[in-house]
């Protein structure tokens, strides 16, 4: 019962969070000021996600592990303009290689 209650409430809450913006803003174009903020939301959230996905532990705390090597491999692949699928394959491969030696 506890589990089903949690699932139902989490599903409803998530749907409400995701609906809020699309319902509240309607089709109206945002103001120029708001547009400038929105344009910076993508780089901000993506930078935070890169950091979070690289060093998070699932709970509170930082963990520097083989994911950093994967991210370094990805950086290099992006720098030399390899295709996205190669970028993520190299990241996974480098991370797995480090873990197999560790």
């Amino acid at each position: 019962m506890r589990v089903w209650l949690a699932i139902a409430a989490l599903a409803l809450g998530t749907a409400a969070i995701k609906s809020a913006g699309p319902v509240a803003l309607g089709r109206q174009e945002p103001s120029a000021r708001l547009s400038r903020v929105i344009a910076l939301l993508a780089p901000s959230l993506l930078a935070a996600l890169v950091v979070y996905e690289t060093v998070h532990t699932g709970t509170r705390g930082l963990l520097f592990d083989a994911r950093l090597v994967g991210l370094a491999a990805a950086s290099l692949a992006i720098y030399v303009r390899l295709p996205l699928i190669v970028v993520i394959a190299l990241a996974a491969g480098a991370t797995a290689a480090v873990r197999s030696f560790a």
């Binding site: 506890r2 589990v3 949690a6 699932i7 409430a9 989490l10 599903a11 809450g13 998530t14 749907a15 969070i17 995701k18 609906s19 913006g21 699309p22 319902v23 509240a24 803003l25 174009e29 000021r33 547009s35 400038r36 903020v37 929105i38 344009a39 910076l40 939301l41 993508a42 780089p43 901000s44 959230l45 993506l46 930078a47 935070a48 890169v50 950091v51 979070y52 996905e53 690289t54 699932g58 709970t59 509170r60 705390g61 994911r67 994967g70 991210l71 990805a74 950086s75 992006i78 996205l84 970028v87 993520i88 190299l90 990241a91 996974a92 480098a94 991370t95 797995a96 290689a97 873990r99």
Partner: protein
Amino acid sequence: MSSSPIRAGVRAGLPLALPVFALAVSFGALAEPAMGRLAPIVMSAIVFGGAAQFASLSVLAAGGTAAAAVAAGLLMNARFLPMGFAAASAFTGGKASRAAQGQAVVDASWAIASRGDGSFDRGLLLGATIPQAVGWLGGTVVGVLAGSAISDPGRFGLDAIFPAFYLALLVAELRTRDARAAAALAALIALALIPIAPGGLPVIAASAAALIALRSPR
């Protein structure tokens, strides 16, 4: 409604189907002992959010209350609030239809659909979510049934795919000086908060870096 932008979105989201599937397998395998077989599958179908589901699961598995599990999950998903406001002008139709389209907002699809100027491509956003939804639900079913034998996505480096993917999308966003400044500030905010703040909060707080747009002349 033209289907070709949605098809382009499906193609853009396809590289994520495998890592999402693998992550979902580990979710299903970890959830089964704590939640039974049906509940994790239903959860993946109607919540559809990896980080939130793992957060709720860790509370439930530790014997926490439903309220604590919901709070942990909603904190993870709160980042979809700014993302939904940002993408709002891309959606079409009445309120119910727009709310329904808003459910397709997940990290990778939102980032793929971002054009870099504050506008979003509706077809890419909706399309890119489809392979991830298939991978997430399918992986959960496999994980619940197969159990812990295949529950470690780390072994194949699959957990490094997400930061690599977001980094590639981030680089494409760094065209202006403001974008680079906001990204650097956001990364610092996240790094500073990860050790002290509960899951989800560092990423939401980092979105405040976008407010530097209000200060700069252009």
